[in-house]
């Protein structure tokens, strides 16, 4: 019977899906029994009316823009709030204007279909949301003088305050909420209460007193509100889906395979976080879960006593003993052969104590043993602290990804910050190193572009190292032959242009275009990413081997060239001078070094060929011109002298091949006996050509919104957890924790009255995000 009071709203937090029907942003609900006024024909339309009115009135949303259903935009402290108001609008309760004391709603609920009526409600009091109250109420007066308190809040708090009777509706709603909670939806209970004027007046006096109190105002306001929010009548519940973006579970699974450790830092509460972790496949039933939560009876008991010092000590002690216990357990599991993976969940309050310097290292070492770590109910500051702990404490490379303003801290604390641009504003993007539009693009960012980038950087850096070492060593060997006088082997222009022209472009091309495996294969074999984590391509061994080859090559290039100067080299018996020899050595060197790059490439495009061939050609072009322009130089005419000898051509073929022979032998053995993963993957797919166009991200999608919902439900875990999420668990309300850490809480976005009076006349939003 109460089914229709429950409302599933899909909060599409990032991507606006193209669909056949025009949906409002954040509204993705379709039920023929409720839509377009059909609810009037249901058995209990009055209750529906209250339900929708509650949605339209009991909130702290500010409307913006034209007062028409199409153009209006709602500004809210959390997207959840706005979603509920949008929902009310779609059911015919269009909230379009707010003044400090009034709420204007255009209602089309009247007896006749299509009749529209502007109704004003006087807002007498707003009992604000905070994270201890977990509810929000509004006292309003109808035009006809009716006084009503509308309340919405977490099921646990609202149920405690319900009046007796109506057990059936309570029971059904409870069942529904559990279902929604299992599905990972965030639920709210809606309730109302009719007030008598006398009762209200006497209460309002107390409220005003509390409001003007200078000490403990918040606490007193809470107490006064408590008096009013009793004997409520339940009218239903809402459920909001904080929709996981497309492909998040797949993305996380892929990243997990790629050898990344994934930690979830969320402002959501424990149960929601667990559900999301399940949905993301971060946690599964095979895992051993360790949970440290402050929501235990023991802690609550101590908290109720109210002694801050005692609470702190108690929780700290508790966290410490649990950590120790878990660590032991973890050790036995890890040393056992079961291969069971560990998951660790901790909430913000406990984390605050676990991050204490005395416990920090224990926390870190324990967490590093776990394959999944979830920190819930954490403040932005704690997110940053945890990130810093891993980065500094474990000396790991950290990447933070987030979309909200509350993620800025951790994005900045991490080595790599990734911001998701979307509904939650641009702060995360502005603070980040990389901005992407959807979470799932992280796969591409890391596995494709990140990996390529690593590979290319390794190649470019080691190649720069190599080519200069080879070059310099040839010069170095010459020093021994000149009585250590420091005479240059090469002409100074050749020497200067070596890095600038003759060996510059090919390495840039490799840095731009080289890829060991294609986009598709990078994602198909996420494990390839591990080569980067283990730093396979740039370590002392790699550099050492390269340096050895460099040494060998320089010896070959130098000695082979110099060996030519011992006897006459033409049939006319003439001898070569120093500059002839050095020009020949330089020619061999340029060819060798450029060919060596070709041997490092996994792919050879026409740009590789052009740049490598071009570099060698440029050298010849340069020396052809240079050797006739500067008569005063030692290099005058050298290349022409050289080219008149057969010896020169023989050397130009011999030296590069001989110099690169060692590399070639090494590569042959390495590939056959100790192949790298990417080499095996190359071999597996050696006959496939890269499909053109697959590199582009597939942004479009085919599912209709209905299918999406069904799919999302299907993707949710089939666990039976008896929890219900709670719609105001959104990060916007987290300043509470920050204030505990001594950070000044930002101005409260839901301080509606003040904001409404400050509301600028023009349409520009002044504080879209706090």
């Amino acid at each position: 019977m109460n089914k229709k009071y429950d409302l599933v709203l899909v909060k599409t937090s990032q991507v606006q899906k193209p669909s056949t029907k025009a949906y409002d942003k954040g509204f993705n609900f379709d039920d023929a029994r409720l839509m377009s006024g059909a609810w009037r024909n249901e058995p209990n339309p009055d209750m529906c009316k209250e339900f929708f009115r509650c949605l339209a009135i009991c909130h702290t949303v500010l409307p913006e823009g034209d007062e028409t259903p199409d153009k209006i935009r709602y500004q809210a402290a959390s997207p959840d709030e706005a979603a509920l108001v949008v929902a009310a609008k779609n059911f015919g309760f269009f909230f379009y204007r707010r003044t400090p004391t009034m709420v204007y709603v255009r209602e089309s609920h009247a007896e006749k279909m299509g009749k529209v009526q502007d109704v004003t409600y006087e807002i007498l009091n707003v009992l604000e949301f905070n994270s201890t109250r977990k509810r929000q109420s509004v006292v309003c007066r109808y035009k006809d003088g009716r006084l009503v308190l509308y309340c919405k809040g977490a099921d646990s708090v609202v149920y405690e305050r319900l009046g007796s009777g109506n057990d059936e509706i309570k029971k059904i709603t409870r069942v529904h909420m559990e279902q929604y909670g299992e599905a990972g939806l965030r639920t709210l209970c809606l309730a109302y209460k009719d007030l008598s004027p006398d009762m209200y007046e006497s209460w309002n006096e107390k409220f005003m007193q509390a409001k003007s109190c200078l000490r403990d105002r918040e606490k007193k306001l809470d107490e006064v509100a408590e008096l009013m929010e009793t004997d409520l009548n339940l009218i239903g519940c809402t459920a909001i889906e904080d929709k996981l973006q497309d492909g998040v579970p797949a993305c996380i699974e892929t990243l997990f395979k790629a050898g990344l450790k994934i930690w979830v830092l969320t402002g959501d509460k424990l149960e929601t976080a667990i559900n999301i972790a399940y949905a993301c496949k971060l946690i599964n039933n095979d895992m051993k879960q360790f949970i440290i939560s402050s929501e235990t009876d023991e802690i609550r008991e101590v908290e109720n006593r109210g002694d801050q010092v005692e609470i702190a000590q108690f929780i700290k002690e508790k966290v410490k003993t649990e950590l120790q216990k878990y660590q032991k357990e973890a050790q036995t599991i890890l040393s056992g052969s079961s291969g069971q993976k560990l998951a660790f969940l901790i909430d913000g309050k406990c984390l605050m104590y676990a991050l204490d310097p005395s416990l920090r290292s224990m926390l870190l070492s324990f967490c590093l043993n776990c394959s999944a770590v979830v920190c819930c109910r954490v403040s932005p500051l704690q997110k940053a602290q945890v990130t810093r702990l891993v980065r500094k404490g474990a000396n790991k490379i950290t990447l933070s990804i987030g979309d909200g303003a509350n993620d800025v801290g951790m994005i900045q604390a991490a080595n790599i910050g990734v911001g998701i641009s979307g509904m939650e504003g641009m702060q995360a993007v502005m603070a980040s190193d990389f901005a992407i539009a959807q979470f799932r693009f992280l796969t591409d960012l890391l596995l494709v572009h990140g990996r390529w980038s690593y590979l290319r950087l390794c190649k470019v850096v080691s190649y720069f190292f190599y080519k200069n070492l080879t070059f310099t060593l040839t010069q170095f060997w010459y020093t021994f032959q000149t009585g250590y006088s420091g005479q240059r082997f090469y002409d100074d222009w050749c020497q200067s242009l070596y890095n600038v022209i003759f060996t510059a472009l090919p390495v840039v091309i490799v840095g731009l275009l080289d890829k060991d495996v294609s986009v598709a294969l990078s994602k198909k074999y996420p494990q390839l990413y591990k080569e980067g984590i283990q730093n396979t391509f740039f370590n002392w061994k790699v550099v050492g081997i390269l340096a050895l080859f460099s040494l060998y090559q320089s010896i070959v290039v130098y000695n082979f060239a110099v060996a030519s100067s011992t006897s006459g080299l033409t049939s006319t018996g003439k001898m070569l001078g120093h500059w002839d020899v050095s020009t020949m050595a330089f020619t061999c060197l340029v060819i060798t070094v450029n060919l060596r790059l070709l041997m490092m490439c996994s792919t050879v495009t026409r740009w590789h060929v052009i740049s490598i061939g071009g570099s060698v050609l440029l050298w010849f072009l340069f020396i052809f011109i240079y050797a006739i322009v500067f008569v005063n130089k030692g290099t005058f005419f050298t290349i022409y002298v050289l080219m008149s000898t057969i010896y020169f051509y023989l050397m130009v073929i011999l030296v590069p091949i001989c110099a690169l022979l060692c590399d070639f032998i090494y590569q042959g053995f390495q590939r056959w006996l100790f192949p790298n993963d990417y080499q095996i993957v190359q071999e597996v797919h050696r006959h496939e050509s890269d499909a053109v166009g697959v590199g582009l991200l597939d942004i479009g999608h085919q599912l209709s919104p209905e299918d999406e919902i069904r799919y999302a439900f299907a993707m949710l875990p089939k666990e039976n957890s008896k929890h219900t999420g709670f719609a105001f668990d959104s990060p916007g309300y987290e300043s509470f924790f920050a204030s505990q850490q001594g950070v000044v809480a930002p101005q409260k976005a839901w301080d509606v009255v003040r904001r409404a009076s400050m509301k600028p006349k023009d349409k520009k939003p002044q504080n879209s995000q706090h």
Partner: protein, 333 residues
């Protein structure tokens, strides 16, 4: 692009920017490895053999004379001998010819332990002055041999020219003098561009320490081939310079008499002087290095080809065997 996408920020598609350029993906498969080795081996060994035979057919006679040309009385102190202008420096060497020398025969002098490539030595010259009569004052780098005692510029200035080699050889066999042609021993480019045809030696080896040979002041630098040869500085401290050319054959088992004017002082720094007679072929003088290098590299390649064949036979692995992937070898626990 259609109208709708006018404001789209999607980058313009190109194969380059999307990294989809058609690419050759070389993989060092056994086939490629073995084929490369065999190809290199098959090409290099014949080339090497050719070069080596050519070099082998060259006849080269080397005779060290610096010690032998010092009279016995002075063997303890060759310096006092070489620096004494009153002692006759003529010295006669007889050299057996092991094989027939076919004209043209090239006469070289070879100096050892002479650092013509020393930095200070190399830069002590003025190319401008050598080329251009007007630049005779351009002696910036020539110090300490830039000006004579009257402060007039020396042409050619600098240490290189100053130390010009001044031993001379006269060759005779069977009592007949063999003329040594001194023309055409320098590279043409030097004569044409680097040494001016209107630049005459001036104030050269006039006073102070005499370094080496003097130059005929009536002959322009562009015709002073000994100077040109000498001034094309050598890369190594052991070097040969062309002295001249003999245009008649010398039969095998003949004895050549060489009358050497032993003027050049290498005793001071322990340098050695050698006289070299050599024929040439297409590859130049005696130069086993190229041939040997080619043969060795080719040999190594063939050897490696065999090695790799053995490797592929005895340590086979299927190309692209997924079981070699690290995560398949050590499954994640």
């Amino acid at each position: 692009m259609d109208q709708k996408n006018k404001n789209s920020k999607k980058p313009v598609y190109s194969k380059f920017s999307q990294q989809e350029l058609p690419a050759w993906k070389p993989i060092l498969t056994p086939g490629w490895v073995i084929a490369s080795y065999i190809t290199i081996g098959a090409l290099f060994i014949p080339i090497g053999l050719l070069a080596w035979t050519a070099s082998d057919s060259v006849v080269e006679i080397v005779d060290r004379y610096d010690e032998a040309c010092v009279p016995d009385d002075f063997s303890k102190n060759p310096q006092s001998y070489i620096q004494n202008p009153n002692i006759k420096k003529t010295c006669t060497r007889s050299i057996k010819v092991p094989k027939k020398l076919v004209a043209p025969i090239f006469v070289y002098y070879q100096l050892e332990n002479f650092y013509q490539n020393h930095r200070r030595f190399v830069k002590s010259r003025s190319d401008k002055q050598l080329r251009d009569v007007k630049a005779e004052n351009d002696t910036k780098f020539c110090l300490p041999v830039a000006y004579d005692y009257d402060n007039k510029p020396i042409v050619p200035c600098g240490l290189i020219a100053w130390s010009l080699f001044n031993d001379t050889y006269k060759i005779s066999t069977r009592g007949k003098d063999i003329s040594i042609e001194k023309k055409g021993i320098a590279w043409k480019s030097d004569a044409k561009a680097k040494f001016g045809s209107n630049v005459y030696p001036k104030n050269f080896q006039k006073d102070g320490l005499i370094g080496g040979a003097t130059l005929d002041e009536s002959i322009p630098l562009s015709e002073q081939e000994d100077l040109m040869v000498w001034m094309r500085t050598a890369a190594l401290p052991t070097f040969r310079k062309l002295y001249g050319k003999i245009n008649t054959d010398i039969e095998a088992h003949d004895t050549i008499k060489v009358e050497i004017q032993n003027n050049y002082n290498t005793y001071k720094f322990g340098g050695r002087k050698k006289l070299v007679l050599s024929t040439t072929t297409w590859i130049g003088g005696k130069n086993d290095f190229v041939g040997m290098a080619y043969i060795s590299v080719g040999g190594i390649c063939l050897f490696m080809a065999i090695n790799f064949i053995l490797l592929y036979v005895f340590r086979p692995r299927r190309l692209g065997d997924p079981s070699y992937l690290s995560w398949n070898r050590h499954p994640i626990t």
